[in-house]
Amino acid sequence: MKIFKSASVDFLNDKILFLDNNSLIAIINNEQVFKPFLKDLDDCRCVLATIPSVVFEFTRTDNVDGYNKRKRFIKSIIGLIFPIEKYIDKFSDLILILQRIKGNISYSDFLLYCCIYNFLGNGFLLTENHHDFSTALLNRKLLFTTDDEKETIRNIAIYEFDRSKYDKAAENILHGNKIIKSFDK
C-alpha cells in the first residue's frame, strides 16, 4: 500500500483539521498508510476535530461492543468535538449560499462547511467527498492518493474556506444571478 502526498503539512501548524465520516473510515481502513501523516500533524500541533453529527454517523451500529470501540477510536484521535449546531443562527448567509451551490448536500456536510467558515484561516477539512466539498467555495490545499493492494486508488484532500469565492457567491445571490458555475478569481 502506498500514499502519495502533493505538499507538506506545514500550513497546519497550530491549526484545526476537521474530519468527516468518510475520512475517519479511510483512516481506519488504511491505518498504516495514515500513521506517518497523523504523526506529522501531531508534531505540528495540529488538532484533529469533528462535530457531533459525524460522531453519530461514525458510531451508528446495533451492537454494544462495536459502538464502544468506535467511541474509543474517536476519543483516541480527536482533540475537539465542536458543538457547531449551537451557533447555527450565525451561519444563515452561508446556509443560503450553500443551498444555491450544493443544494443536496447532507446536514453534516452543511455543518462542516460552517466549521471551516467559523474557523476561517485556522480550520481545515479532510475529506474524500470532492463532489460536495468542491472548489466552488473552497481551496484544495493538499491531496493524498492512496494505492492499496487491491489496486484501489482513492483521493483524499485537505480543503480551506475561500473568503473571496464566498463573497462572489453572495454577490451573485444579491444580484439575482441564477447560474453559478465558477468562482475562480
Partner: protein
C-alpha cells in the same frame, strides 16, 4: 421497595459516552494505541458501513 431498572437504562449504562466541547484536548498522539484501536474498530464494521461516498 426499589424498582428494577428498565432494560433500556441498563443498555445505556453499557454504552460509552463522549463529551462535546469547545475546549481543545491537546493530548499526544499515541501510535501504538491508535493501531490497536483502529484494528479493533475495523473488525466491528459491517459491509454496509464501508459503502462510503466515492467521488
Amino acid at each position: 421497595m426499589k424498582s428494577a431498572k428498565r432494560p433500556s437504562e441498563i443498555l445505556k449504562e453499557k454504552l460509552e459516552k463522549i463529551e462535546y466541547s469547545e475546549k481543545i484536548n491537546k493530548k499526544k498522539f499515541d501510535i501504538h494505541e491508535f493501531e490497536k484501536i483502529a484494528k479493533q474498530v475495523r473488525e466491528t464494521f459491517k459491509d454496509e458501513d464501508f459503502q462510503i461516498c466515492k467521488c
